[in-house]
């Protein structure tokens, strides 16, 4: 007989010495702690914060009017007196336009991702948790969207609906729903296979309660990380649509549009013409590195 050791009775386990144990940190506290120790993520976060704050607070920064044109001071080079970043092809202050341009560019980058996160995430979690026919229906519809390259889809949607910021937002949201849906579905399918979900079902809890308590907490992290990495794509796509004349209309300051209109100046003042591109580059790479850091920080075992 295997079990007859009287020494292994309950008292050994039931009465642990009252040791002071380190305070337990919740998962998100641990993630926060790891993020604070990651210099790259911190720097990227700092730069993004700066860009966002500057864009939001642009009217109070004492900048020149971003719409005020002047035929006399066209294409001043970088470093000119009163115009630290020069002027554009219509004589407007570049610094002011770049900072104001961040408003639209960031808005166009973040909003569609948030909308797509809500819609695509809900669809994906539903598909993953329900499985079977529901999953099949939702995911096959997403596959149809997948058949088109995202840039082409965005261009054709914007083209069909006409230029304008609202239509660009709508087009970009539609473009980002399928990938977010697919990621949400695969994470949820994985989590649903764990015994703790079965244990929750065995306790007689309703589906919504199980999703809220046991599924969301485990799938939100990876979905958020993925969505963060999409923001940079959205910024570039939005800028691209504006560049093609399908997005924001002039004279609104927007990085993609600025890049387009400064195109003619590329032989006169190439550095100046590149500035909006530099802003797009910095912002999107910061978002990408942030999402990388976030993923690393969330990759805590348990």
């Amino acid at each position: 007989m295997a079990i007859q050791s009287p020494s292994l009775d309950m008292t050994t386990a039931a009465a642990p010495a009252p040791v002071a144990r380190p305070a337990t940190r919740s998962y998100w506290q641990q993630v926060g702690r790891r993020l604070r120790r990651d210099p790259v993520t911190l720097v990227c976060g700092g730069i993004l914060l700066l860009i966002v704050l500057a864009a939001l607070g642009a009217p109070w920064l004492g900048l020149a009017d971003p719409y005020k044109t002047s035929m006399l001071r066209r294409l001043y080079p970088i470093g000119s007196p009163n115009f630290p970043l020069g002027t554009d092809e219509l004589g407007r202050d570049m610094l002011s336009r770049l900072i104001y341009g961040g408003r639209l560019s960031l808005f166009m980058g973040v909003t569609p991702v948030i909308c797509a996160l809500l819609i695509g995430g809900a669809l994906g979690i539903t598909a993953g948790f329900m499985g079977g026919r529901v999953n099949m229906l939702i995911m096959r519809i997403m596959d149809v969207f997948y058949a088109f390259p995202s840039v082409l889809l965005a261009i054709s949607l914007s083209g069909a609906m006409g230029a304008g910021a609202e239509n660009t937002l709508l087009a970009l949201t539609l473009v980002f729903i399928p990938p977010i849906c697919r990621v949400s579905e695969s994470v949820t399918t994985q989590v649903r296979g764990f015994d703790f979900v079965d244990a929750a079902r065995a306790s007689g809890a309703g589906t919504l309660t199980i999703v809220r308590v046991h599924v969301l907490g485990n799938v939100l992290g990876p979905i958020l990380v993925y969505a963060t990495s999409l923001i940079s794509v959205a910024i570039i796509l939005a800028a691209g649509l504006s560049f093609l004349g399908l997005g924001v209309k002039p004279p609104e300051p927007e990085w993609g549009l600025m890049l387009n209109t400064l195109r003619q100046a590329i032989y006169v003042n190439p550095l100046l013409a590149a500035l909006p591109g530099v802003m797009i580059f910095i912002t999107s790479i910061c978002f990408n590195l942030m999402s990388d850091g976030l993923r690393a920080a969330m990759d805590v075992k348990a």
Partner: protein
Amino acid sequence: MDSVLPVTDRGGPVQPLLLAKGLRKHFPIPGGLLGRTTKVVRAVDDLSLSVAKGETLGVVGESGCGKSTVARLLMRLIRPDKGTMVLDGDPVDEPHGITLNELRRQVQMVFQDSYASLNPRLTIVETLAFAPRAHGLAGAEAKARSRDLLAKVGLDPNNFADRYPHELSGGQRQRVNIARALALRPRLVILDEAVSALDKSVEAQVLNMLVDLKEEFGLTYIFISHDLNVVQYLSDRVMVMYLGKIVEIGAVEAIYGDPQHPYTRALLSARPSMDPRRRTREAPIQGDPPNPIDPPSGCRFRTRCPFAEDVCGKAEPLLTDTGAQEVACHMRIRGSGHTRAP
């Protein structure tokens, strides 16, 4: 809400706590054109069993013989293709019976993988309070009950309540899982390989605790394991499964003392022995169980049975009472046509 109070006995001590009749689960294998299923895995085939109040029913068998599927069927975590269940006189999921929710309050389960069965994002006390809260108990009350339960399974609530699963050892986690199964005050607890993943000393502690808890809460156990020694220690009756069917069922003394089915005998003689004089010299049965997608005709064990004859391939042996136990073997059925039949 009274649903979080213990359920009182209704049918008296003689009425079985759980009766299952003709349970069948075939898992479809999608493969054909347009996802049409052409083949099925016969995980559990027309299985009937009854569990008496207060007993421990051990379930043994090789990997893949359908032990865990039976557990999940009894909990209705998966829907049976066929078959009925009766819980203390009340049919389950039928017009005049009890709902699945009610079944799941009275029948609870402990899973094998102590880690995967705890949500990594919830503290221990949150995990334990989930089920009572889902049944309408107030938050503070549910937490208080959870702390009581922790103490009952030998974990100091002050030390463990606010920890996360990854901060616990395997044995501690399995204690938490047992506490969770008890949180709704069930009458029947299904232990699906609940101690198999623990190391031997911890396993012994947890088993002793299970015995104590059974006494204290008046529980009935279905104890699923591939460890024959543990099953012998814990069970009152034992059920031996092979490829989704019961081959032998009876009192633990009868099964271990006088096994009737050749498969049961093979299983028992495959046990490692501490006594060098009784060491097993050759494998009693060879090979793997046949594929459950296409099980052998007649008796499913005949492909590995040393006594197989023509009749074994033609007719399926039904469970037959031999006095101390029930056996599904042509050698024990009177007039079956087998040369060794009585």
